[in-house]
Symmetry: C2
Subunit: 369 residues, 2 copies
């Protein structure tokens, strides 16, 4: 029976020592916040690492004290759910560069005493996976039963599979792509320009100046949000419904979809950091495992030992099923143990957040068999 995981609390850990980044810069001592659900077994073989996407964080399931809505993947993580916390010990960190407690642009740089802000280095999916490996060491997890995530989270699961082949038994790569398309990058670039050109962005030093590029971040989120929903979902949810009965011949929000987007943009821009948003879009743009192998994805996948599940959603136009199939085809060519699941779902890219029956069954079977 599916049930909620109940009350949860975030934890904090410091990864001690020098941490080298792909860009050539480094950090000393990285603070990471994370949550865990379920119980780690005696031989530490039941741990699942959940990787979050662009706007996600470590709060994947359950509720904090007095919180109304549960974590972002609560529909899939809990007792009896797709990721069954009666069986598995689930770990979800907030990634470096995030804005929910882990080392990020709105952290203080101890070398200078100021906020990192725009000085925060541009990190990569590889940097994340390396930091997650250090977290695994601290938690006493030599080998993950599974690493999984949706969208940018799926890219981390994929990176784990070839970067640490001995440390991962299964990889769940959901609603992802082997790299961004020109159109994906184009949408990210619009989002970045919206933030970078907001006069309150102040070259990224808005925290020092007690300002905030709210409008830029709102616009960035509105653009992003369009790409997360399917056209079908928008049509059935909003269509051309007017807020009032008649056209108002003005620039107030007139159609329901306009209010919805403005609202989503407002809420998001009040709870997210603009420098983190910039960073996240860049991390997406940079992800391209084939680039180190003369463009050959199959070569990038050579080292993989894990069993892999690739999941796509029929109405996802941000990372369409075709993009997942690129991953699957390269894995097959590299003779890896891969299963592919294309789920019929109306929710576009956001489908990976919903507990669709086939999707839940597929994940359970993959994790438990």
């Amino acid at each position: 029976m599916s049930d909620s995981i109940g009350k949860v609390k975030a934890q904090k850990v410091t990864l001690k020592g020098k941490f080298e980044l792909e860009c050539g810069q480094s950090f000393n001592d990285i603070e990471l916040v994370y949550e865990t659900y379920g119980v780690l077994n005696a031989d530490a073989t039941n741990a699942i690492l959940i990787c979050h996407a662009l706007s996600g964080n470590h709060h994947a399931a359950g509720k904090y004290e007095n919180e109304e809505k549960p974590g972002w993947w609560d529909s899939l993580i809990g007792p009896g759910k797709a990721v069954d916390t009666n069986k598995f010990f689930v770990v979800c960190p907030n990634n470096i560069g995030g804005c929910h407690g882990s080392l990020g642009p709105n952290s203080i740089n101890h070398d200078t005493g100021d906020y990192y802000g725009p000085d925060f280095p541009i990190i990569t999916v590889r940097d994340w996976v390396n930091s997650q490996a250090k977290l695994s060491d601290l938690l006493g997890i030599e080998k993950w039963h599974a690493v999984m995530g949706g969208s940018l989270g799926g890219m981390q699961a994929l990176e784990w599979s070839y970067l640490y082949p001995k440390r991962i038994k299964k990889a769940g790569i959901i609603a992802a792509a082997p790299k961004l398309s020109a159109q994906n990058i184009a949408f990210n670039e619009v989002a970045r320009q919206a933030i970078l050109n907001d006069p309150d962005f102040e070259g990224g030093r808005y925290l020092d100046k007690s300002k905030y590029p709210k409008q830029g971040l709102k616009l960035a989120r509105m653009v992003g949000h369009i790409t997360y929903l399917s056209e079908e979902a928008m049509r059935s949810k909003f269509g051309r419904e007017l807020k009032k009965e008649k056209l108002n011949f003005g620039y107030d929000a007139e159609f329901e979809i306009e209010s919805y987007l403005r609202y989503q943009g407002d809420v998001f821009s009040e709870s997210f950091d603009a420098n983190t948003y910039l960073l996240m879009t860049k991390i997406l743009d940079y992800f391209d495992p084939a680039s180190n192998f003369e463009g050959k994805l199959v070569s990038a996948f050579e080292s993989i030992e894990a069993q892999l599940l690739v999941v796509s959603f029929s109405t996802d136009w941000r990372f369409a099923p075709e993009r997942s199939k690129e991953i699957v085809n390269a894995l097959i060519e590299a003779k890896k143990n891969v299963s592919y699941l294309e789920i019929d779902s109306p929710h576009g890219h956001d489908s990976f957040l919903f507990a669709n029956e086939d999707y839940v069954k597929g994940l359970s079977a993959f994790l438990e068999n």
Copy 2:
């Protein structure tokens, strides 16, 4: 043989008298600029009206003195071209609300002596068609041989067909839709918010204050531009090509697609009016002929007498072929004389601007048979 129409000049005319708008407001005396190509025959039966789209204007073909690039539809209009100026007298006006010489937000309101700016009323496709009908009277054209246009231009051609059934012999409705989808409106709303929230927009009174919301208009155009191109076109044109050989780990334009979008946005924002852009997106949002007929498109089409050609393009995801088919199906149900042409073209929505062979043949046959 195809050839250029050569040097052209814009003309100006004043439509005298009171002009009532759908919103309830009215104008006195409307100035319109337009261009003509070819020669009107003695009985005025060879005239073709070209309707422009969101960012278009009256300069559809030929070149001005010292101009480098010809008008926006020069590939299709000229001697021996799809719209053959050896046979037809072609008229293309800049629509009311435009920013290239016709009455628009950057015109002086003679009642107040100030720029209209944000006081310019929100007009509709119907208002445009009514103003074009007045222009027809002035030019001595009782019945157009054809009215045609792409995108928002196609919507005007469609509106002509049921609003003035006796005054139009053929209607060419290219890369259009019977109304915007929620997703189309969503993209327009992002563009509007980008402009409205630019601090230099000054509530639309930027001309009075010698300011200009360049960043907002640039962003609006960048968003729009993504929807004009197909993903395939972007992929084959830019892919993930880097400007330099290596990643720069910063926020300068890094991928070719980023530079391209920024450049397109810059050029556009230097030559277009922000209030006009707002207005054009709203005119698109409002177009919905079925709305006066309880949502029944077939009822809206009852009055049509013209022969119609509907054209769509395989990779157009802004107004996909399915949207054109909605028009065609309603026309068939209303027992109208309609032909449908779906052109295989890689250029997305912008395909209507390119002289694809099948497209040119289809248009010629439609106009000349």
